[in-house]
Symmetry: none
Subunit: 401 residues, 2 copies
């Protein structure tokens, strides 16, 4: 049984506030035989104090051994079974630029690339053209028109953009046109199901017209289309939890993820201090706040241990300002681990700290992996975290008489 | 997959004895920053000694964050998936007064209440009339007669009673007639499914006749009907485990719950010493003994920390007498936590202690929440506890070749 069937039935309204701070990819791995993880190495007096007074544990993002992408990692944290709700990459990208993806839309992630005279790809990212160039090229692509379908082309960043097809009978099961290797030609879009045939045809028309338009550009003289995806049907957090929710995130993708579960995505500036400020500004208007901190993951992906430590300390320094708002439940965790040792997302369970007056204190004295192993919350699937948040906030009736 | 599908297939008979001591609501929460939980505060030399020699852990009654009522809390402990088997309040109440609820019955919980001259409720509990008054009024209500249905009206306690309708074609999906607020009129019973229409009509007849009968009574001049429920279909413990089971419980509800899973509910007196005595008396007649101790929950609901500590110590003092019978498996746990700090059932995992010659000893030296976090049984859903009991009692074959 999906735990959300229970929360729908048992949810209660009250005046409590819940803050979920997601330090992206915060979990780590020791790099040396005697070393500690990134989180354990960081000086985190504020998180440690919270850990000492409250309860910790480890979340398993999906299932043991399964490494999540950002989409499923966050859906779990929001309490949605990540194996039940799948979000295609194109949809995620479109939502990430605040594109209002509708039920008849198919979103596609586009990459500008460079091809030689024979059409073979020489650079899959067109020398990472600057965003200004991307904007200019996207403007040119908007001249493309195809019968019976509405087209939207939107720049994202650098060499990346989004195409959205809007029309009747468009399914999203179409293979990427990016061959993934330099030296190969851009592929034709191929439908993998009969219902996606029309989508593939429209994408092919689009790609051919785009090829003409970009012919004389350098380095971005071609494009690839990837991650064809419709907007997934996901019930809102209000529907399943009765939570009026708000997202305070800087990066487009996380803003998109939040909007997918019905959060209000508020202006959050560009720095963590802007985010803290936004949290305070919207404090009275929402029940639940998703606060996303990206840079622990970026440092992990870069394999930069010291930088990840520094970013964790940067977050720790803002904890008092968040705690000062007196949330009834304050949770600090990650959507997955990104150990600098692996330079990528990983499956390792993620430290979680839950601070609430209603918690059962455990013996954790430091917020780090080794201590979280023995934390009172145990190791549990991340999809239950939101149920725990609701419980600690007094927002669930009991089940059964 | 339901673990009971496995136990049905793998169960073995032997001469082992299993005792499940349920200290209702035993799990707790620290009340002060430096304090311990109720169980940790209590002096429990006998439980601690058992913990030291055996294995401990924590059970999650339903799912993380979900607080159970007594019904689902106990079903879990008996190994029944509490999300699969639901017990309606009326059925629970009827079973709790030893009413032999049959397959054609619908049980309804009745409350006497007070209404003013306009029929508006002024007291939903009729000034909590004493049980003697309840008995007298129920006697009067027994005069009610309705065609083609057999009626039973039984007092419970204070202002509460049970009505059972017995007849053909009675389904139980009928809304409560209690408007839940003072100042509103008692509602008509409304069927929520076509199959429950007849039940609603009979309930309406009953309520109208009752209104006439109670007209001149004060303060109990009216009644509300709640929790319409048929007896749920639950396979017996003998069927799923091959256990000949016995319940030693003082309070009606727990006796009712036990009878629902096919336990023999034996006379258990009114004190814990009576219960210990009953355990010894029936020792040779059963394989499994459910021993229910209510007062840890009552003290928790009252928010009385010291009383809960005292009750835990009261139970601890009887452990040697129980252990002296030499059960092959002795389990001590609760159906849920009832922290005095919250004054209610809660979702916090429940300490569990399993003593058996076949257990793998862990490092627990004291039976309390902090140590159970690190216990060898880990944190697990309570519905698996009975499988563990069977395993430790040598009552399960291996699965597969």
């Amino acid at each position: 049984m999906d735990v959300q069937e229970l929360t729908r039935e048992l949810k209660l309204k009250n005046n409590s506030k819940i803050v979920l701070v997601v330090s992206d990819g915060v979990g780590g791995v020791q790099e040396t035989p005697d070393g500690q993880t990134e989180l354990e190495t960081a000086s985190t007096p504020n998180l440690d104090e919270l850990a000492k007074q409250n309860v910790c544990g480890l979340t398993i993002p999906i299932l043991p051994g399964i490494t999540p992408g950002s989409g499923p990692g966050h859906l779990s944290l929001f309490g949605y079974d990540p194996l039940k709700y799948a979000i295609g990459r194109g949809a995620l990208e479109a939502l990430g630029i605040d594109f209002d993806l509708g039920p008849k839309d198919v979103a596609i992630r586009g990459n500008f690339c460079t091809v030689d005279d024979d059409g073979a790809i020489t650079d899959r990212r067109a020398d990472r053209i600057p965003t200004e160039t991307c904007v200019r090229l996207v403007e040119k692509l908007r001249a493309i028109s195809i019968d019976d379908v509405e087209l939207f082309v939107e720049p994202v960043r650098d060499y990346r953009f989004v195409v959205v097809l809007r029309g009747e009978g468009l399914e999203d099961n179409v293979a990427d046109t990016d061959p993934q290797v330099v030296g190969a030609k851009v592929l034709e879009p191929v439908a993998r199901t009969p219902g996606s045939k029309r989508t593939a045809e429209i994408a092919a028309h689009f790609a051919h017209q785009a090829k003409e338009i970009l012919r004389d550009e350098r380095p971005a003289n071609m494009l690839t289309l990837r991650g064809f995806a419709s907007r997934p049907l996901i019930p809102s957090m209000n529907e399943v939890y009765g939570l009026n929710s708000c997202a305070i995130a800087v990066y487009p993708m996380y803003r998109g993820l939040a909007s997918l579960v019905g959060m209000d995505v508020v202006p959050s500036g560009s720095s963590i201090d802007d985010q803290v400020e936004a949290l305070g500004r919207h404090w009275n208007s929402f029940d639940f706040f998703f606060f996303h901190f990206k840079y622990t993951d970026s440092a992990g992906e870069d394999g930069n241990f010291d930088e990840k430590v520094r970013r964790i300390e940067e977050l720790d320094a803002r904890i008092p300002a968040i705690a000062k708002l007196r949330p009834d439940v304050l949770i600090v965790t990650g959507d997955h681990s990104t150990p600098t040792k692996l330079r990528s997302h990983s499956w390792h369970p993620v430290p979680v700290l839950l601070a609430a007056d209603t918690c059962r204190r455990d013996e954790t004295t430091q917020f780090g992996e080794s201590q979280c192993v023995r934390g009172g919350l145990g190791q549990f699937e991340a999809k239950y975290l939101l149920t725990l948040a609701l419980a600690h906030a007094g927002r669930l009736q009991k089940y059964g008489a």
